[in-house]
């Protein structure tokens, strides 16, 4: 029994970080009022650039490169949606398409369709003493992003709710005019949030190609960017909420796998397809129970114009 819990926890902690980072990125961008549909594309770019960079430099540095690449794509999104006030959904979708096709094109022309050559994976940290403890031992043996993914949401929540900067970020997503009357730059704050979300999405993608796998695989991230958006909505646009939702998705998946492998009799009663849909069914139930109350930032998706009121 303890074994089962151990593998459940380990699997969750191993699979969740990419989703957590992307969900946090989405929260950051949307709390500042810019829709983050482009997460999938930013993750893909981050995953690709990190894998390519890791061929020539140490992997941790390559992860930073992946983050910067994600931020660069977010920069395009910012330029279109903040500077030119274009439709943020259209801009995000366009970036997703560019990243999808561009990633495949670059991969095939540089390395062939089979993915990049294998790279050095991020080191896994074995915490001495902890690995032999039952169940909790599953906390040991992950790479750095896992531990970061456990701490970052709370730091981010603190920043958002307890600091002046956090107040301004939230205000710029709810009432940008109010921020402007205080003499603060609405575009400046939104730019910061969008670039930050690009860094986080790039990190999420880089985790996929440097910690989960040891190369860029051509389908990466296979829809995880959209899952991140779902986690954000499910978590009511709060960092800790998004973290819990992302962890819940990863846990639900691990639970399904664990159930099927540990209790094969179950599959004869319930088809695996139903179990596959279980996390999402639960999401629907929770969203329904939450009722009508919307938690989305009030000015989300509305480009800021100084003259408007």
């Amino acid at each position: 029994m303890l074994d089962v819990l151990h593998s459940l926890l380990f699997s969750t902690l191993d699979a969740a970080p990419a989703l957590i980072f992307a969900a946090l990125g989405a929260v950051l961008s949307e709390r500042a009022g810019v829709i983050a549909v482009g997460m999938e594309g930013m993750m893909r770019v981050g995953a690709f650039c990190a894998a390519v960079a890791a061929l020539t430099m140490p992997t941790p540095l390559a992860v930073v490169m992946g983050m910067l690449a994600g931020a660069a794509l977010a920069g395009v999104h910012g330029f279109l949606s903040i500077r030119w006030r274009s439709d943020q959904v259209v801009s995000g979708i366009a970036l997703n398409l560019v990243a999808l096709a561009g990633g495949t094109f670059l991969l095939e022309s540089l390395y062939g369709p089979n993915g990049t050559p294998p790279i050095q994976q991020l080191t896994r940290w074995n915490i001495p003493g902890l690995s032999s403890v039952p169940v909790l031992g599953a906390l040991s043996g992950h790479s750095a992003p896992t531990y970061l993914a456990l701490l970052l949401p709370f730091a981010f929540q603190g920043l958002l709710t307890r600091t002046p900067l956090g107040l301004r970020l939230r205000a710029v997503g709810d009432k940008p005019q109010a921020v402007a009357t205080l003499g603060l730059s609405v575009p400046g704050l939104r730019w910061g949030a969008v670039l930050g979300s690009g860094l986080l999405a790039g990190l999420g993608g880089a985790v996929l190609s440097t910690a989960v796998l040891d190369r860029f695989e051509q389908h990466t991230p296979a829809g995880l960017g959209f899952m991140a958006l779902a986690a954000m909505v499910f978590g009511r646009w709060t960092p800790v909420g998004a973290f819990l939702a992302a962890t819940f998705f990863a846990f639900g998946n691990a639970l399904r796998i664990g159930l099927v492998s540990s209790a094969p009799g179950l599959v004869e009663l319930i088809p695996q397809g139903v179990l596959l849909a279980l996390p999402y069914l639960l999401t629907l139930v929770v969203l329904t129970l939450q009722g009508q109350r919307s938690s989305a930032p009030a000015a989300l998706g509305t480009p800021y114009e100084q003259e408007s009121r």
Partner: protein
């Protein structure tokens, strides 16, 4: 509002995805090495499913049959370059290497379309027909309906459908005068790798990782289970089988494999497309952590992905089926009909075992004996889960 926006975005994205496709440059338009052949190259189209190019597996096998064997070309950096005879020879399965000389490149021009979404299949097939493809290959069961639609609308065009019969709107098998279908007895190849897994496992626990639970993938599972049952009854009791629910999500494959390994499985067979890359990755990492674990590849010989970690691969020679159809087309002998290829017809098989383990020679001998008995018909490998319980390989 927000939710609605996101839903809108997703729909728009899906629509937009279906518009874009990869088209092979018509670099093969000139006959390869003018003078060698006087005939004009026949265009042969291939639509691969959403798994895409570079899956190390099912799609790559069809591409190999068409591009490398039939056309003598290699796809590199977005265009075709001529392949050397050596490259062709090295890509041939062992039972054909003696025949290498007969794999001369044919006067055909491959046109490959990748599908990004299911809605792409019909337009892609139609595009190939419109471009004058003399034969159009639909690779994968996902294309069954699309091939039926296209074949009915274009009665003069010829089609090859891999992995499925032509199905009517109710899903019942039907025949069309311009479609050749090729099915494989995956259960027979899977039986062999299962038998080997049963002999190799030390923990007496083995696992199966499937992609989407459809009858095709179930044939892999059932054959594998039957193979394990034949050589190791204890492992057959404890066999763990999990489906990932996708063919393009390697993270899901890895998560499943990690779970099975942590529960003691030491041989994992996957039939999960690109998810399988994640399975192999998990096995690689477990080996690095000191566990003795093996993965068994599928469709193509996947040994090159992780040479130490791949015990063998269950081979499905769809490359040969595609090559044969192209050759028939060039020879003018292409005919519609249904082919079912098993071990006997060399349609499936087991890849060379390149890793070393104690008792290897003996194990391979046993598997070879089983192979002979399947070919001679004394073992009938079950193909559907219902037949598994009553399956019992008679003692030799």
């Amino acid at each position: 509002m927000m939710l609605r926006l996101h839903v809108l975005a997703l729909t728009a994205l899906l629509c937009a995805c279906s518009k874009q496709k990869e088209e092979a440059p018509p670099s093969g338009a000139q006959p390869p090495a003018a003078g060698k052949t006087e005939k004009k190259a026949l265009p042969v189209g291939l639509v691969i499913d959403v798994g895409g190019r570079g899956d190390h597996s099912f799609n790559d096998a069809a591409l190999r049959g068409l591009e490398l064997w039939a056309a003598g070309k290699r796809y590199e950096g977005g265009k075709y370059v001529d392949a050397t005879p050596d490259e062709v020879r090295q890509s041939l399965p062992p039972h054909l290497t003696s025949d290498a000389a007969s794999f001369k490149s044919l006067a055909i021009q491959p046109i490959v379309l990748q599908s990004k979404a299911q809605e792409d299949y019909v337009p892609n097939l139609q595009l190939l027909v419109d471009q004058g493809a003399r034969l159009t290959v639909g690779n994968g069961y996902m294309l069954a309906n699309a091939v039926r639609t296209s074949a009915q609308e274009n009665p003069k065009a010829q089609f090859l459908l891999i992995d499925s019969q032509v199905l009517d709107a109710q899903g019942k098998p039907m025949k069309l005068p311009n479609v050749r279908t090729v099915l494989f007895k995956e259960q027979e190849g899977s039986f062999l790798v299962g038998a080997l897994a049963g002999l190799v496992t030390k923990t007496n626990k083995v696992g199966f990782v499937g992609g989407i639970e459809v009858p095709l993938i179930q044939r892999f599972e059932v054959g594998y289970r039957a193979g394990v049952k034949t050589t190791n009854a204890q492992a057959s009791q404890a066999l763990m089988s999990v489906y990932t629910g996708s063919f393009n999500n390697m993270a899901a494959g890895k998560q499943v494999a990690q779970d099975l390994i942590s529960k003691g499985a030491d041989v994992l067979f996957h039939a999960a497309g690109a998810d399988g890359i994640g399975v192999i990755q998990a096995v690689k990492e477990a080996r690095a952590a000191g566990k003795s674990v093996y993965a068994i590849g599928v469709d193509s010989d996947q040994s090159h992905v992780a040479p130490d970690a791949i015990l063998t691969s269950m081979m499905k020679y769809s490359d040969l089926a595609v090559y044969q159809a192209a050759k028939d087309l060039v020879d003018g002998t292409f005919s519609a009909g249904e082919q079912v290829l098993g071990l006997k017809e060399n349609g499936v098989g087991m890849a060379e075992v390149r890793v070393e383990f104690p008792g290897k020679a003996e194990a391979l001998q046993k598997v070879e004996a089983l192979r002979q008995r399947i070919i001679s018909g004394t073992i009938q490998v079950p193909a559907v889960p219902a037949d598994l319980a009553s399956f019992q390989a008679a003692a030799p």
